[in-house]
């Protein structure tokens, strides 16, 4: 069953918090993973793998570099569901 973008944002925020300690409330669509949330590339991979499992999608490695903001990730996951 497909998740709404709001559900994806909330789920992603939980994963980011779990993996990096960033506050759930700080994980907003306009925030950059690296510049705003200070998430390094290895932590980003743990977020991606957890998101893949949670939302039952596949996010290829070559796509990860395009996921600059949290909103980019939400949109990608929403589109990849189906």
């Amino acid at each position: 069953m497909a998740h709404t973008e709001d559900e994806i944002l909330a789920g992603l925020a939980e994963i980011v918090n779990e993996e990096t300690g960033v506050e759930v409330a700080d994980v907003q669509a306009d925030k950059s993973f690296t510049d705003d949330l200070d998430i390094d590339s290895i932590s980003m991979m743990t977020i991606v793998v957890n998101a893949e499992e949670k939302f039952e999608v596949r996010i290829p490695d070559e796509e990860v570099k395009n996921l600059v903001t949290v909103g980019d990730a939400v949109k990608y996951i929403a589109g990849a569901q189906a």
Partner: protein, 413 residues
């Protein structure tokens, strides 16, 4: 850089081990003669046919002492060493230091064995994609020294002695050398291990190193007892802050004791059987290096793992090194209480040696029902033994698979 003539002080201590989650709890439990060996709370014995179903495990949940994200990036051996390092650094007063003249030396026997095996299980169950990208920095043997170096901001170097059950003592010995050489003012030293897992238990049991006293685990670790049948696996970490005396005194630090000398040798003999020759050479070197005579050593915290051959061989090595002058000294094996922390053992036993010199009391060796008649020295049998006033020298001896022999001498402040 010129070699420093300054002595090397111990100014901070930290530990997580089966007796306690900090130094104060540990020392109190040690003086009380507490056994920590328990039947494992799982079904490994039935499920895997494990021949030994008990161990000495830490009494705290490390995850309550670390943030979740940092805990997720560390192996269990790294959880224990990080908590111990932070305790030791706080205990030293968390001083402002020249970080380029501060180093970390933290050893381990095996490294991230839980991480290796857990991630391999994950590959088999869920596929390669699920492997944690932090797996390598978690499992590498230098993981603890590296994470502590980052956490404390030490920029002078981070090193990882890997010499089986001598690793923790070797870290203390290297720390001493690094400060004496004049390169460092402060070195955070210690050791860690966490491998109460079916594979290491099976492996140590199969090499016939472990006690099989499954029906009476609390009394299984019994160094110097006639019926000892092997060591009890433990887990934990211990960290000491070493500092040049000059540096420590300039900042008004509390000095527990001094690290006065170290000896190192290798057996060139056998991969698992210890040698009296190697141990005795290391001990003799440590005493000489400390500028002491055999009769100055008043206490030995022995390796004493509770194996039939190892315990007596070690006492013979002590006697050989000290030219038979052993009437003045009291021996103890704190492994009777903690089990064997492998790479953490020499560090925890250094902490016990430092505290023995500082408080002038030797923690007991427990579980001796019938003292082995071959024991030729005075043992702190079942109760603590007080040490005299005045100058005091304590020896910590360690050795490990591979024929690594390390001895360290601590003197009272």
């Amino acid at each position: 850089m010129s070699a420093s003539s300054s002595r090397v002080a111990v100014t901070g201590l930290g530990t997580v081990n089966p007796l306690g989650g900090d130094v104060a709890t540990t020392w109190q439990a040690a003086l009380a003669g507490t056994s920590t060996a328990r039947t494992l709370d799982n079904d490994w014995a039935e499920r895997y046919g494990l021949p030994v179903n008990f161990a000495c495990q830490v009494p705290i949940d490390p995850l309550e002492h670390l943030s979740r994200p940092e805990a997720k990036k560390l192996d269990p051996s790294g959880h224990l060493s990080m908590i111990a390092a932070r305790e030791a650094w706080a205990d030293a007063g968390a001083p402002e230091v020249d970080t380029a003249r501060m180093a970390v030396v933290v050893g381990t026997g095996i490294g991230g064995v839980w991480t290796i095996l857990d991630q391999w299980d994950l590959v088999k169950e869920k596929g390669a994609r699920r492997v944690n990208p932090f797996t390598v920095p978690m499992l590498m043997a230098n993981s603890s020294s590296a994470h502590i170096e980052i956490d404390l901001g030490a920029r002078g170097g981070a090193h990882t002695p890997v010499s089986a059950c001598a690793s923790g003592a070797e870290a203390v010995a290297y720390g001493l050398d690094m400060i004496r050489s004049g390169r460092m003012d402060v070195v955070v030293v210690g050791g860690t291990e966490s491998c109460v897992h079916p594979l290491p238990i099976a492996a140590f049991a199969n090499i016939r190193a472990l006690s099989k006293r499954n029906d009476d685990p609390e009394h299984a670790s019994r160094p110097y007892d006639r019926d000892r049948d092997g060591f009890v696996l433990g887990e934990g970490a211990a960290i000491l802050v070493l500092e040049s005396e000059e540096h420590a005194k300039a900042r008004g630090a509390r000095i527990y004791s001094y690290v006065a000398g170290r000896g190192m040798a290798s057996d060139a003999h056998h991969i698992s059987a210890p040698s009296i020759d190697g141990q005795s050479r290391a001990i003799r070197e440590a005493v000489t290096d400390a500028g002491l005579s055999p009769e100055d050593i008043l206490h030995v915290n022995a390796h004493g793992t509770s194996t039939p051959l190892g315990d007596i061989g070690e006492l013979n090595a002590v006697s050989l090194a000290l030219e038979g002058k052993t009437d003045q000294l009291v021996v103890t094996s704190t492994k009777s209480m903690t089990g064997h922390l492998l790479g953490g053992a020499g560090a925890l036993e250094s902490v016990f040696s430092v505290l023995a010199a500082h408080h002038r009391i030797v923690p007991p060796t427990i579980n001796i029902e019938n003292l082995d008649p071959e024991v030729s020295m005075s043992i702190a049998n079942g109760a603590p033994v007080e040490l005299p006033q005045g100058d005091l020298a304590v020896l910590n001896n360690a050795f490990g698979f591979g024929g690594h022999d390390i001895a360290v001498v601590f003197t009272s402040a």
